[in-house]
Amino acid sequence: MINVLYLDDELHNLTAFRAAFRRDFHVHVTTEPTEAVRILREQPIEVIISDQKMPTLSGVEFFELIMPDFPDPVRMLLTGHADIDAVIDAINKGRIYQYIAKPWNESELKAMVIEASMLFHQRKAVATEGEVLLSKMQEARAMALKIQRATDQAQALSAEQAAEINRNAQNINRLLAN
């Protein structure tokens, strides 16, 4: 089940949200941003939904706040009134994925959450793939390094042998001259 975190100062919204989606997702709700951070720490949250207008801090501010510690969850902003400044901030600062207007449409919202979770997993997969690739590259590099060293050694050896031959040749020449 998809882990969704919903932050809103309006308790009734939380109730309604949970009632609407508890059958489909693993829903975490709270009115407190600090509580939200705690949940983020404890639960493998994939999608975060936050109300924009809240007394202590705005949704965008909240996203900005959690960005360094929790960059992976896909963020969605919920707002009752589209304020162009909030939209700009949400995109630039909050790195949000979707912008949802209240009142929400349940099925749409559900689709969006699923989409967001897919995005989350894709990203994660890409990240894992990247890691695998990276480790493979590192392995390859280490291998290349080993080969290089071996080659160097071989060259040094052959040079020594050549010098030896040279020397021997000179000795032979000297002997012959004598």
């Binding site: 308790l11 109730t15 309604a16 949200f17 009632a19 007394p55 707002t79 009752g80 009134h81 209240k102």
Partner: protein
């Protein structure tokens, strides 16, 4: 009045002249001159006769004969002696005549053989009755005595040139000549008098002062001539020796003065020849000096000075020419008159100084010259009158022309002015129209601004309300859907239960299935959730209706009419409308008084007032960087009763940035704003003040920079 031509006039004048001249010439020719100066003897210079008696003088040895026919003893106040040796046989009974009427003191002694046998006074110091004279000249009879030697001895003293034209004639001849001369001078006097009266009447009728000058001029010059020729008696001063002695001097001075005044005036010297005018003034003063000298008895000096001053006449010629050149036509007569007169004067002076002989021509040169001068001058005056007339006509024409020109100019000016006025008026009308348009534009702009301020607040409001409404709508709608699902879950259980039959043998199985269902569907949680959802729906509905009510109050349709309203209701509705706007950065604490009376007000407009002030307070605190807990707006209302009046006081206080005195002074000015460009119209508080003044409400602003601002509004009840 027929105007005579210049030539006609000249002909008349010439005839007049001819008459005078003919008479004079005739008289001269009749007068045979036979002066016997060479028979006279005089004492040499330095001969002292003072101590001698008359007889001793007569018998002196040093007598010297003259060599002139008319001896001239010159000027000098000494006593002069002259001796004439007579022939007692042929000359007795005849008369010795000295044709000089100007000798002051003259005594003729007849000395027979050294003895005085008769003495005759003949000078003008003696009265006419005492004088021995025929006509105007001293004449002494040669006594009929038997003598060996008969002498006539003359004792003379005079302050005038002592010229002695002496002759011996029979009494008849003397009388005839005197008669002749009398006639001649009578003519002269007549001419003068005629001129004088004529010009005097002209003066009276015309009033031109130059005629008066001319009259005085004629009188003095003619008088001088008469006096000079011994006719001073006609002035009735004959018995007044003092006057007799000075008569010639006085007339000389007087004629000089009048001549100067006349010439100055006639030739308009001050205008045409200023330098001559000044020079003549100097001469005028000199004549006055001569007059003074004559009056104090310095007759000889006076006479000399008068003669000197007479030379001023020479300046008349260049002066007249200059005047003539400057276009003053009467000057030409003047020139003629004075040329003649100067000629006569020259002859007279030359005669006096002995350069030319003394004869009838030279003697009469002066009266003749002056007569001609007078006549020509009167002509000159006539010409002058014409000139003046012409000038006055010209002046009048010029005046007329000028006035016509002026009139025309005035007319043109008027036209120009009218045009200008018309243009101005048009320009003014245009300006007026433009101003009216501008005013209308401004008014409409103002309306638009007010409208836009209204719209801005409505926009702000809408945003807030939309948000405020969206929340309950959101959860009510969502809850309804969830409820349906919960209800379906419950339904399943209920249906299961309904299908149970106590008689059913598999009841226990069904029971356990329902139990399983309970657990699977989490009915317990669902029940709790249903409770919560219902609470939410209830709450949402309540809040929605509250908002709608607030909105209704806030934007009452009768908002611009004065109606009774509860001020607290208005404040509350404003707060509801503003709630979502304020929620995320401001805490509002309302402390509204209870039982406030209703206020007659424009509710809609008052809402605008409260919204403006509360919004400002919230924004001020937000920009001051306060946390939400610190951003508190305190709103209170109460009723205040004071002596004679009561009011409702509303206070709105924030803890924002406050204002400086400078800002505070301007906050109610239109377009004044401290917000960034585009964030505020600067009209909010200006509209607030307008609304409050419509309510006769007072507004007080209590502010302190860094501490906060409090608006205190007092609505009179």
């Amino acid at each position: 009045m027929t105007r005579l031509t210049l030539i006609q006039r000249l002909v008349i004048v010439c005839f007049r002249f001819a008459a005078v001249v003919c008479t004079l010439v005739a008289s001269f020719s009749l007068q045979a001159q036979n002066f016997i100066g060479t028979r006279l003897e005089h004492l040499p210079e330095g001969f002292d006769s003072q101590l001698l008696d008359v007889e001793a003088v007569a018998e002196a040895d040093s007598w010297v004969a003259f060599d002139q026919l008319v001896p001239n003893l010159g000027l000098g106040e000494e006593v002069q002696w002259m001796r004439l040796t007579l022939d007692p046989r042929t000359e007795n009974g005849k008369l010795i005549e000295i044709q000089n009427a100007g000798i002051d003191d003259l005594t003729c002694y007849m000395i027979c053989d050294g003895k005085i046998i008769a003495s005759y006074p003949g000078g003008i110091m003696n009265s006419a009755s005492e004088r021995h004279q025929f006509g105007t000249y001293p004449s002494f009879p040669i006594p009929l005595v038997e003598c060996d030697r008969l002498h006539a001895l003359f004792r003379m003293q005079s302050n005038k040139p002592m010229i002695v034209p002496l002759r011996i004639s029979g009494p008849r001849k003397v009388l005839e000549d005197a008669h002749q001369r009398n006639i001649l001078f009578a003519i002269y006097a007549g001419v003068m008098l005629a001129m004088l009266l004529y010009n005097f009447f002209l003066f009276l009728s015309i009033g031109d002062r130059s005629y008066l000058h001319y009259v005085l001029f004629i009188f003095s010059v003619g008088g001088a001539q008469l006096a000079l020729n011994g006719y001073g008696t006609i002035f009735g001063v004959d018995h007044w020796p003092w006057m007799n002695l000075r008569l010639i001097h006085l007339f000389g001075v007087f004629s000089g003065l009048t001549t100067i005044v006349f010439v100055q005036n006639f030739l308009r010297l001050s205008r045409y020849v200023p330098w001559l005018n000044k020079l003549l003034n100097v001469y005028f003063l000199l004549y006055l000096v001569a007059l003074a000298l004559a009056l104090v008895g310095r007759l000889e000096w006076s006479y000399q000075l008068i003669n000197f001053c007479a030379a001023a006449i020479f300046f008349f010629i260049p002066g007249t020419i200059i005047t003539m050149r400057k276009g003053y036509s009467p000057a030409k007569y003047f020139l003629l008159a004075f040329t003649v007169f100067i000629f006569a004067v020259v002859i007279f002076v030359l005669k006096d100084s002995g350069v030319i002989p003394y004869n009838s021509w030279t003697f009469y040169a002066l009266p003749l010259g002056s007569a001609i001068e007078m006549v020509v001058l009167s002509l000159a005056l006539a010409s002058r009158i014409n000139q003046l007339k012409k000038e006055s006509v010209q002046a009048r024409e010029e005046q007329l022309r000028v006035s016509q020109l002026n009139e025309q100019m005035v007319r043109e000016q008027n036209t120009v002015l009218e045009e200008r006025v018309a243009k101005r008026t048009e320009a003014l009308e245009n300006a007026n129209t433009t101003m009216k348009d501008t005013l209308e534009d401004l008014q409409s702009a103002q309306q638009q601004l007010i409208q836009s301020e209204k719209l801005a607040s409505i926009g702000q409001l809408t945003a807030g309300i939309a948000h405020e409404l969206n929340n309950p709508i959101n959860f009510v709608a969502s809850s309804a859907q969830s409820l349906r699902r919960d209800f379906e879950d419950l339904n399943q259980v209920v249906n299961e239960l309904k299908a149970m039959d106590p008689a059913d043998p598999g009841l226990a199985d069904r029971m356990s299935m329902v139990k399983e269902m309970f657990g699977k569907l989490d009915i317990e949680f669902t029940q709790k959730e249903i409770e919560e959802l219902l609470n939410g729906i209830e709450d949402g509905t309540k809040r929605t209706s509250e908002i709608v009510r607030g909105l209704r109050i806030f934007s009452r349709m009768d908002g611009d009419n004065f109606t009774l309203a509860h001020i607290n209701e208005l404040i509350e509705s404003t707060l509801i409308v503003l709630r979502s706007n304020l929620k995320d950065h401001t805490v509002v604490e309302a402390n509204l008084g209870e039982d406030l009376p209703q206020l007659s007000c424009q509710p809609g407009r008052l809402n605008q007032v409260f919204m403006n002030i509360i919004t400002n307070a919230s924004q001020s605190m937000e920009s001051a960087g306060l946390s939400v807990e610190e951003s508190k707006v305190l709103i209170s209302s109460r009723k205040v009763d004071s002596i004679g009046q009561s009011w409702i006081e509303v206070r709105i206080k924030d803890h924002g940035a406050g204002m400086s005195e400078g800002v505070k002074a301007q906050i109610f000015d239109p377009f004044f704003t401290t917000k960034a460009v585009g964030e505020g119209t600067g009209l909010g508080l200006s509209i607030v003040r307008g609304i409050l003044s419509d309510h006769n409400a007072e507004v007080e602003v209590d502010t302190d920079e860094g501490v906060g601002t409090e608006f205190i509004i007092r609505f009179p009840l």
